[in-house]
């Protein structure tokens, strides 16, 4: 058998580096994958403690940057459900982020008329109570925006969502009796845990600046936990009937409808799930910064989130997380840096130009690699794991490599 394989050697199939890594990873036993995943997450979690020499940011607190990355990663995962999985271009995603943050703010800030922490909600646990409410309200807003507009064609949808994002910001700015207008809402609740003599307000308080375990580190860890949870949920959805419907809608909406996929329903689901993840990230943001103002939720941020998704690779969950990392980390990496590997640079200047670079990156990427840096590969979703193994064998056979489980031993 093995001789047959080598003698008839079919034309080698060209496999990119990414594909080879993917095949190797997919062929690993489930347990190994889990162990590797846990180790990987732990290594990432240790970043703010280890503070590796070159990677650590100079101008701003490294842990704070990572905490921001955590929120952006959540946003990217949520937006990826809408844009990457279902193919709906949502340019107003920042609106959901804002709704999540403002819900927490309105419920727990003393400057809000709907503050509950005076009455029956404690300052210590108010945030934890507000988060699920924020997620629910954001999901509801996704439903409200989606149900009339998701019948529109793709490019119209993009503009309507853009208008929605802008309306949310303008509402936050204009309804000043409720939202505090341009002054925003302050003293938003955050989880008060782990109080000690040097950290009187707990580890999550913005006043906790003691290195290495400052508040940024704790928020980063909290967001990592949430990211893993959201990834599990979204990953399972992707592999289910819902995920297959999303992919069908993305590839050809009319064909999907004809094949019996209730496209409107699944588009609405995608919108709702994406919105609630955005709201979760917003709630996290409100708790960390303890302060919300309308200018944080400018529409340009929507473009930035989209940039993360497109850069990373639409449809690839890990890809968009890396995209979010690039969006958050790169400008901060250059901030305050005067030299890099001995070469003098003006880091602040480079950080200033970030939108210019992101814009250029988008344009160049769309021409040469529209699928993003780490594109998603469509798998045979119905058959699950055993297909990867067969696919790997086929690929190995095609490239003429030895495959230990099919050959008898000698070549």
């Amino acid at each position: 058998m093995s001789t047959e394989m080598t003698t008839t050697a079919p034309a080698p199939v060209h496999l990119g580096v990414g594909d080879r890594v993917r095949l190797w990873w997919d062929a690993l036993p489930r347990q190994t994958q889990w162990v590797a995943g846990v180790v990987g997450v732990l290594l990432v979690a240790l970043l703010p403690v280890l503070r590796p020499p070159v990677l650590t940011t100079v101008g701003t607190d490294f842990a704070g940057v990572l905490a921001q990355f955590g929120m952006y990663a959540l946003l990217a995962i949520g937006l990826n459900v809408v844009v990457g999985q279902t193919g709906l271009l949502d340019l107003g995603y920042v609106g959901f982020y804002a709704i999540g943050a403002y819900t927490v703010g309105l419920m727990t800030s003393p400057s809000s008329p709907w503050n509950l922490t005076d009455d029956w909600l404690s300052r210590e646990w108010g945030w934890l109570f507000a988060v699920p409410v924020a997620v629910a309200i954001t999901a509801l807003s996704g439903l409200l925006l989606g149900s009339p507009t998701l019948r529109l064609r793709g490019d119209y949808l993009a503009i309507v969502t853009l208008g929605f994002g802008e309306i949310v910001r303008l509402l936050a700015d204009n309804l000043s009796t409720v939202t505090g207008g341009g002054r925003g809402l302050n003293q938003i609740a955050y989880p008060v845990v782990g109080q000690s003599a040097e950290r009187p307000n707990g580890i999550f308080s913005a006043g906790n600046t003691g290195l290495p375990l400052n508040s940024g580190t704790w928020w980063f860890w909290l967001s990592l936990v949430l990211i893993v949870l959201v990834l599990v949920v979204v990953g399972n959805l992707e592999r289910s009937r819902v995920g297959r419907a999303w992919v069908a809608i993305r590839e050809d909406e009319d064909a999907a409808e004809i094949m019996g996929v209730p496209t409107f329903k699944f588009k609405l689901w995608a919108f709702l799930i994406g919105a609630s993840i955005g709201g979760l990230s917003g709630a996290l943001y409100a708790g960390q910064v303890q302060f919300v103002v309308p200018t944080t939720f400018n529409v340009i941020n929507s473009m930035l989130f989209l940039c993360a998704v497109v850069l990373g690779g639409q449809g690839n969950k890990l890809g968009v997380i890396l995209g979010a990392f690039a969006i958050v980390y790169l400008p901060n990496f250059f901030l305050g840096r005067t030299e890099l590997f001995g070469i003098p640079i003006d880091g602040n200047e480079i950080a200033n130009y970030r939108y210019l670079f992101f814009g250029l990156a988008l344009m160049i990427l769309m021409i040469f690699r529209p699928q993003g840096l780490f594109p998603a590969r469509q798998k045979l979703l119905t058959y699950g794991r055993e297909v990867y193994v067969i696919a790997r064998r086929a690929a190995a056979a095609a490239t003429g490599r030895r495959t230990p489980d099919t050959t008898g031993g000698a070549r």
Binding site: Y156, G163, L170, V178, G359, M366, I367
Partner: protein, 346 residues
């Protein structure tokens, strides 16, 4: 604040939004006049969206930045003509002012038209060659508008020795002092209003004739209707696309000058975004792809926006425009006139 006020002025109920019917009734005609001036500016920008959409089925998201470049183009032209920004109004006499404004408009049109053609060349053409899906075009357009904005924000001040661009708005160069010329139903009509509306109507008429009565216009309509057949009939699609971007860009440049007449301190790198979104709303309102629809939609949006502003308060003006856009798309996605560029009568 926060009271529901009716025409008589009595307070009805405490609310979050002021609802002031009286202000709308009192100022109806003056609101209409300034609504029409803004509306005619929206209309000119909307034509750019509509033409490109008609020909390419593409929402040129970066068109708002083309408009913004036009503002800088006319400003630079005025500076080259020897006007330095100062707080005062330059008194040049009517005739000379019109000549200078005309030259500035040509400058703005040249910059905008040129930028639109370059944008098409650099960003969109490679995608067309590759047969990219619509989403890819839209994302490229977003990237392009980032690049153009940040170019004016950071790079332009370096190139011009801080004379142009940067974080702050340009010091206004005022050539015209707004002064009331006559009254219309009790509303003051200023010289600025007159110039804007007359110039916009003239340009709108010109572009309507261009599209509907010239050889090039026939080419544009042919490609909009059926690109393949048009190509078979000897129309060069690529050339028509360049022409479309050029015409749309030039109108945006002209609109840029008119806008700075109305809002002298609006010349800033971020000044195009909201206006572009409104102009797009105007194009959709009238029926995107439809030239006369864009003109009608622009005027309507300008007027309704100001009525809304009077009704709810100044800070709600943009909200009115966007809510209008969403409502139109929900209930009549084809817009008021609803025809496509190709189907318009020859």
């Amino acid at each position: 604040m926060s009271a529901l006020v009716l025409a008589g002025g009595q307070v009805l109920a405490d609310g979050v939004i002021d609802f002031n019917v009286g202000a709308l009734g009192r100022n109806f005609w003056s609101l209409t006049v300034s609504g029409l001036t803004y509306g005619s500016i929206y209309a000119l920008v909307a034509v750019g969206y509509t033409l490109v959409y008609g020909v390419l089925r593409l929402i040129n998201f970066a068109h708002s930045e083309i408009f913004m470049l036009g503002m800088f183009g006319q400003y630079a032209t005025l500076m080259l003509l020897g006007f330095n920004p100062s707080g005062d109004v330059f008194q040049q006499g009517v005739l000379l002012t019109i000549v200078f404004l005309g030259v500035a408009m040509v400058g703005g049109m040249a910059v905008s038209g040129g930028a639109a053609v370059v944008l098409e060349r650099v960003a969109y053409r490679p995608l067309r060659r590759r047969g990219a899906p619509a989403l890819v075009f839209l994302i490229t357009a977003i990237g392009a508008s980032f690049v153009i904005q940040e170019f004016v924000h950071f790079v332009l001040p370096k190139l011009t020795g801080n004379a142009l661009g940067g974080v702050n708005a340009q010091q206004p160069i005022r050539l015209v002092q707004p002064s009331t010329q006559f009254e219309l139903f009790g509303a003051n009509v200023t010289n600025v209003d007159l110039v804007i509306v007359v110039a916009a109507l003239a340009l709108a008429f010109a572009v309507d004739r261009f599209v509907n009565a010239t050889k090039f216009g026939r080419g544009i309509r042919a490609v909009a209707q059926d690109p393949v057949t048009a190509t078979l009939m000897g129309v060069s699609r690529e050339r028509i696309i360049v022409l479309t971007f050029l015409v749309g860009g030039m109108l945006a440049g002209a609109a840029a000058l008119l806008y700075t007449l109305r809002v002298p301190s609006g010349v800033i790198y971020s000044g195009g975004f909201i206006l572009g979104l409104k102009a797009f709303s105007a194009a959709v309102l009238g029926g995107i792809g439809n030239l006369r629809g864009a003109l009608l939609g622009g005027l309507l949006l300008g007027v309704m926006e100001l009525y809304g502003q009077a009704l709810f308060g100044t800070e709600w003006r943009d909200v009115v425009a966007f809510v209008l856009l969403i409502l139109v798309l929900m209930f009549r996605p084809t817009g008021i006139l609803g025809e496509s560029l190709g189907k318009a009568r020859a």
